[in-house]
């Protein structure tokens, strides 16, 4: 399921997923998404700016499937690379965050990892650089 307010983005994302062989349902609003989402959907991709704006929909989806053993994975699609966005998404119970733009190859990898590991929080390039530096500093101070 793809819930994106922007019609162009929704159509492109749908086209991308269909190209990869997925069956896709689309929704233009949170209300529509919540009404239509079912256990037939393995993943719900939703647009998110800050993470907090997707929190209510994520919470309501989790509530909808609370009594079921299974539920769709909830993944944020965002162009916002701020760490706080990722943290907000994690805090509200989302299963993943993907940074836009999403190429065909990237989405192929994303779907594969998501469906196998059931979680995927993408790191932005700047965050990766910071983590590499931190790891490098940590290694220098390891006690042998």
């Amino acid at each position: 399921m793809v819930k994106l307010v922007c019609r162009v983005s929704r159509t492109v994302t749908k086209g991308l997923l269909m190209h990869l062989g997925c069956d896709v349902t689309t929704a233009s609003s949170s209300e529509e998404c919540l009404r239509v989402v079912s256990l037939d959907h393995e993943v719900v991709f939703m647009d998110v700016c800050t993470g907090l704006d997707g929190s209510e929909l994520a919470a309501r989806i989790l509530e909808k499937f609370a009594k079921h053993q299974d539920r769709p994975l909830i993944v944020a699609l965002t162009g916002n690379t701020k760490r706080v966005t990722k943290e907000n998404c994690m805090r509200v119970g989302m299963d993943g965050l993907i940074l836009k733009p999403v190429s065909v190859e990237k989405m192929r990898g994303v779907l594969s990892e998501l469906l196998e590991r059931r979680v995927l929080f993408e790191t932005s390039e700047s965050e990766s650089r910071v983590l590499k530096v931190l790891n490098s500093v940590r290694c220098q101070f390891d006690v042998k």
Partner: protein, 155 residues
């Protein structure tokens, strides 16, 4: 002009759109999604972009000409336009929207009006360019040819 010449013209024109910054890699992604199951995908998505952009530009013009400008509303419209232009690879429109959003945050009406003009200009330019591109495609297909699938930027 024979089909081969038209195809070369299409390739050269498409390359120029990338080199001049009108389009970025996301447009290539759209072309990748066009196949026998979805043969008009690019034209359909770009047509949606044209419709949505024109509506948003009208809404922005209205919003910025109010006595008390609602910058939250203005920002929301620009955010949408940034999203849709980014989705089709309209790089210069997207970049103009990024600058626009900065001035929305500052609540600077004059600067926002200037940004709106810039966005309108970039939109008109890319619209003309894409319509020309699609015109070339129609000519190639009408002449019995096919649209090239590979664009090489080397050499």
């Amino acid at each position: 002009m024979d089909v081969g010449q038209m195809q070369r013209q299409w390739i050269d024109y498409t390359k120029s759109l990338f080199l001049e910054g009108f389009l970025d890699g996301q447009f290539l992604q759209l072309q990748q999604l066009q196949d026998e199951n979805n043969p008009d995908f690019v034209v359909e998505v770009v047509s949606l972009f044209f419709e949505d952009s024109e509506r948003l530009l009208k809404d922005l013009t209205f919003a910025l000409n109010q006595n008390g400008v609602d910058f939250k509303k203005v920002d929301a419209h620009v955010h949408q336009l940034k999203g849709s232009s980014s989705s089709i690879g309209a790089q210069r429109v997207k970049n103009a929207c990024i600058a626009f959003r900065n001035f929305c945050e500052e609540q600077n009406t004059d600067a926002c009006l200037r940004c709106l003009q810039q966005v309108k200009q970039e939109y008109c330019l890319v619209k003309n360019k894409l319509e020309t591109l699609f015109g070339l495609e129609q000519q190639i297909v009408a002449a019995g040819g096919s649209i090239p699938t590979e664009l090489s930027f080397s050499g």
